[in-house]
């Protein structure tokens, strides 16, 4: 009623104030998560439905692709598959052996991880952060903070979770920092995104640090977010310091960041309390005393 009485400038001012208040609340506090979740829960099925015909179209085009190309692709994929299976077996075997050895040592078992396969639904039109939307959410047990990987390395991190979808911030985002370790010499560094697709950087590098082009960087696992040993990047060039006391290293991500439709989200297998309880009991039997 009285809204109609107000003139256009007054209503304009009210709406502007409302927007500013919303932005302030959303930026400072996480109070609007529920509202956002509600709207996203409605939008997500629509997005999936809209994307489906295009996926079908893509699949149909793939179907009509040249036969030789398909055969070639199949051979390549089979080779990759074999290699991956081999790695998977090795990994499972190593993990088992490792668990056994660690059990013997009486140390806490580093928690294992399980994977959730997800599919990218949409790349978000967000001019500030490189994000994609995937088709699994809190209903499937996802939680913000988990790492996302593909067959070759780290892709990103789950940053926002909706009931049936999640937003994944890619490691090439500018605010995304990952603690890593150089495989060759164990040097610990922090790799950051640059906002460009095929580029990462080590921003504040000690100018005497032993880092060379070609060095492989893997996650160090020190942050408690990323499991240790996931390939992240390969050093492309080390730039000497110019105006700052720090050098800078340019790296290329190992994973196909922003290029695949499928990725894997890693979930820590057991809650933090359980694994510490189990080895403690096992530890008591063989060693008994304060061995470590």
């Amino acid at each position: 009623m009285f809204v109609r009485v107000m003139g256009l400038p007054v209503r304009f001012a009210l709406y502007i104030l409302a927007s500013l208040a919303l932005m302030g609340v959303d930026a400072r506090y996480d109070a609007l998560g529920l509202l956002r979740t509600g709207v996203a829960a409605v939008l997500h099925p629509v997005q999936v439905g809209l994307a489906r015909p295009f996926h079908y179209l893509q699949d149909a085009l793939d179907f009509f692709a040249v036969h030789g190309q398909l055969v070639h692709e199949k051979q390549r994929l089979e080779a990759t598959q074999r290699a991956l299976m081999q790695q998977l077996h090795d990994r499972a075997w190593l993990a088992a052996e490792n668990a056994h050895l660690r059990g013997l040592l009486g140390l806490a078992i580093p928690p294992g991880y399980t994977g959730h396969g997800v599919e990218v639904v949409q790349a978000m039109a967000n001019p500030f952060t490189r994000k994609v939307v995937v088709d699994r959410g809190s209903l499937q047990g996802l939680t913000a903070g988990w790492p996302a990987v593909d067959a070759s390395g780290l892709v990103g991190q789950v940053t926002r979770v909706y009931p049936a979808s999640s937003e994944i911030t890619l490691i090439t985002s500018r605010e995304q920092d990952i603690p890593v370790q150089v495989v060759r010499n164990g040097l610990r560094l922090i790799v950051s995104g640059t906002g460009q697709d095929r580029l990462l950087e080590v921003r504040f590098l000690d100018m005497h640090a032993d880092l060379q082009p070609g060095d492989e960087l893997v996650t160090s696992g020190l942050d408690g977010v990323y499991p240790a040993g996931i390939p992240v990047a390969r050093v492309v060039a080390v730039e000497p310091p110019r105006h700052t006391p720090f050098a800078r290293a340019v790296c290329a991500p190992v994973a196909g960041v922003g290029r695949h439709r499928q990725m894997l989200i890693l979930q820590r297998e057991t809650p933090a309390a359980a694994p510490t309880a189990r080895p403690a009991g096992r530890q008591a039997a063989p060693t008994g005393g304060p061995s470590s």
Partner: protein, 182 residues
């Protein structure tokens, strides 16, 4: 559509146009919003204009009693969620643009769509710029300035959108100015 017949009794003023129906206004806005949700190729996402904004401005100018500041605000919030940015960012920009459009709509109605596109181009570009600058002001450090290109794209799309919605809304395709014989 009630169009007066009979040459001598025909009014000389601008042609009467029935106001656009609610179904057309909200339906076209919903379609435009869905168009923005399509899986556009990732490498070209910055070039895709904000269809919702485009259609919103059209209705602000041609049917202000249906599309006012409130509708702009709600659509802005929806866009905020769809694009994963701060709540209220697009709402603010949409409301500001709708205000500008509502203020100048009387003048704009006397122009043909190409002229309108030229006059609205700064508004389209300004909208993209405002979104980026607001994000910057709120602490986003990495800004993809290529997203500004969506502004001129939207201005270029104004003409086809006008033709389409004029036709659907029962207006003469070239707008009221042409119908008067200017």
């Amino acid at each position: 559509m009630a169009r007066p017949r009979g040459g001598s009794l025909r009014p000389r003023g601008p042609q009467l146009i029935a106001p656009a129906g609610a179904r057309l206004v909200y339906g076209s806005l919903a379609l435009a919003f869905l168009l923005g949700l399509l899986p556009w190729p990732e490498g070209w996402r910055w070039l895709v204009p904000d269809f919702t904004f485009l259609v919103l401005l059209y209705w602000n100018i041609h049917s202000p009693h249906r599309a006012g500041l409130g509708l702009a605000f709600v659509l802005g919030l929806l866009t905020d969620v769809a694009r994963g940015v701060l709540f209220g960012l697009h709402a603010l920009v949409y409301v500001a643009a709708a205000f500008a459009a509502l203020t100048v709509r009387r003048r704009l109605e006397n122009f043909l769509p190409p002229g309108q596109a030229l006059q609205l181009a700064p508004l389209f570009l300004g909208k993209e710029l405002a979104v980026l600058l607001l994000g910057f002001a709120l602490g986003q450090k990495a800004i993809d300035w290529w997203y500004l290109a969506a502004g001129p794209m939207a201005a270029m799309l104004w003409l086809p959108v006008c033709l389409l919605l004029h036709r659907l809304g029962g207006r003469p395709p070239a707008g009221p100015a042409a119908a008067e014989g200017k």
